[in-house]
């Protein structure tokens, strides 16, 4: 490592943030995949309180086609052929095509097994919630929230330029890369304080015992089946966040970012004018 690079090396992520980040990665991966297995037990989503009187807005199923069946996804009355992935897919156990909403490579466990999927889901839900609460307390107590996550007034004013930079895949260098940029800040805040609490709240709304804690509170989410829908949509939104997050990490220096989330040290990208 040369002297210039050495000089640009900063200690970016403290150990509690790094640890909680990776616990979160494990939890969210398992929660997503076991959640898809649970979804497969009743592969339809509704709005409202019950699932009998109302029509589902999403169904993943198989319909007769010729001599066999074809996997389809129906969204708000429109049908899309999703054979091979959604509705009908190859079994990981014996390689035969079988009817199931999400394919076995996307679910934990791979087989259709509701009780086991629930064990995984509910255990890691606890770990996820405890980790999340610890993170929120840490961000408040350490000043991480105020110092690093909440945008400054100047950053708010630069939001237009930040948006343009993102669209052009231009990434900050030098001192400008020391702080999160404003779009990054807003995304993290939305995920931490809106999306993750929503996915937990909608999950808790599906528990009949928790529903009775404050009689009728599930109505705030539109009813129990709406809560199931919101839980699913929030999970999809989290997947989209992770895709963008990982994409941005890759295009702005995958190794540098990955190392900073493991060792804590991040090397500020060199300013263009500094380059030899």
């Amino acid at each position: 490592m040369d002297a210039a690079e050495e000089a640009r090396r900063i200690y970016r992520h403290r150990w509690p943030v790094r640890l909680m980040h990776w616990i979160n990665v494990v939890c969210l991966t398992i929660l997503l995949m076991s959640g898809l297995n649970i979804f497969n037990a009743h592969p339809a989503l509704y709005w409202g309180e019950d699932s009998i009187g109302s029509r589902p807005w999403l169904v993943i199923t198989a319909v007769p086609s010729g001599s066999g069946v074809v996997g389809v996804t129906q969204i708000a009355g429109h049908q899309f052929v999703t054979d091979g992935v959604l509705g009908v897919s190859r079994s990981s156990v014996n390689g035969a095509m079988m009817q199931r909403a999400f394919p076995s490579w996307a679910t934990i466990p791979g087989a259709r097994w509701l009780s086991m999927a629930r064990h995984w889901h509910l255990f890691f839900a606890w770990l996820f919630v405890v980790n999340g609460l610890a993170y929120v307390l840490y961000t408040l107590a350490s000043g991480h929230l105020r110092r690093d996550l909440v945008p400054t007034r100047a950053e708010w004013r630069g939001i237009g330029r930040s948006l343009k930079d993102h669209l052009l895949f231009r990434h900050p260098t030098g001192e400008a890369a020391r702080r999160y940029n404003v779009l990054q800040n807003l995304t993290y805040l939305a995920v931490i304080f809106v999306l993750l609490p929503l996915v937990v709240l909608a999950g808790m709304a599906m528990s009949p015992m928790l529903d009775s804690a404050l009689t009728g509170w599930v109505e705030w989410l539109g009813g129990r089946q709406s809560a199931r829908t919101l839980h699913f949509l929030a999970a999809i939104a989290l997947v989209l966040f992770v895709l963008v997050h990982v994409f941005e990490v890759i295009v702005s220096g995958a190794w540098n970012h990955l190392r900073s989330m493991i060792t804590g040290y991040y090397t500020l990208p060199a300013d263009k004018k500094e380059a030899p």
Binding site: T29, I30, I52, W105, S115, M116, P208, S212, G216
Partner: protein
């Protein structure tokens, strides 16, 4: 330069695919390890303890209006018991049917349907949540279990109420009559009733005729149908498979079904 990028990308893709396969393989392997599954299942004790701490013992499940009732209440599990003794009772209009209450009680007793119908009743419009994910709203009428338990006198060492049913079910290697159990908090809850009516009509066979349990703050598999006998017990491990219910024994479902 282009070449290394391609190589790197390919390496990353291979790593991601290998990582994914490893993850799935590991999770499937862990799913068949009794000690690991035991660890995962321990979360239900945490959930139950947390729920008992947060949710009041008497907290009520939501009740709905007549207009919310779902037409054609869904039936799951057994819809017509194959057992000949049940078929005979059904044929006779359940005139000869009796609900036995025994175990850790002061005065074991048997009640006819007429007898139960003459007791104080409770009518409630509640939402039934299946573990699979669907819900349905129905209007139930029945005798509060707490009233029945007061009649027979529960002994102090009793901790669980076990529901024994008429219907045989087969699941994997297990072939036995359905049964379920709840703790005394749930059994003595105001909304825990033994229902003989659904939506203003005698309970249909598909929904558990002549009598079924309504455990409104827990998932559907707790709401035992085709009731024959209620047993008060101190422990569950000596009863049948020892896990407290048919699905708990056969498929490993959580005994605590509040979530």
């Amino acid at each position: 330069m282009k070449r290394t990028d391609d190589d790197r990308r390919r390496a990353l893709r291979i790593a991601a695919a290998a990582g994914g396969t490893l993850l799935l393989g590991a999770c499937d392997k862990l799913s068949s390890s009794p000690s690991f599954v035991g660890l995962l299942k321990s979360a239900q004790h945490l959930s139950r303890t947390a729920h008992k701490a947060v949710v009041g013992r008497r907290a009520m499940a939501q009740e709905f209006a007549e207009s919310d009732v779902t037409p054609g209440f869904r039936s799951n599990g057994t819809t017509m018991p194959r057992d000949t003794d049940y078929r005979a009772l059904l044929q006779g209009g359940f005139v000869d049917w009796r609900l036995g209450v025994d175990g850790l009680v002061e005065r074991p007793a048997a009640f006819s349907l007429t007898h139960l119908r003459a007791m104080p009743s409770r009518t409630q419009i509640t939402r039934h949540d299946c573990v699979e994910g669907w819900s349905a709203i129905g209007k139930w009428k029945g005798v509060p279990l707490r009233h029945l338990l007061a009649q027979v006198g529960v002994l102090p060492q009793a901790r669980y109420v076990v529901f024994h049913c008429a219907d045989s079910m087969s699941e994997g290697s297990r072939d036995s009559r359905y049964y379920e159990s709840v703790d005394l908090d749930e059994a003595l809850h105001v909304q825990t009733i033994l229902a003989y009516e659904l939506n203003g009509a005698p309970l249909p066979v598909a929904n558990g005729a002549p009598l079924r349990a309504r455990i409104e703050r827990q998932l559907g598999y707790k709401h035992a149908k085709y009731l024959m006998r209620i047993e008060l017990a101190e422990r569950l491990d000596a009863i049948r498979g020892g896990q407290g219910g048919f699905w708990e024994d056969s498929e490993g479902y959580e005994w605590y079904a509040g979530i």
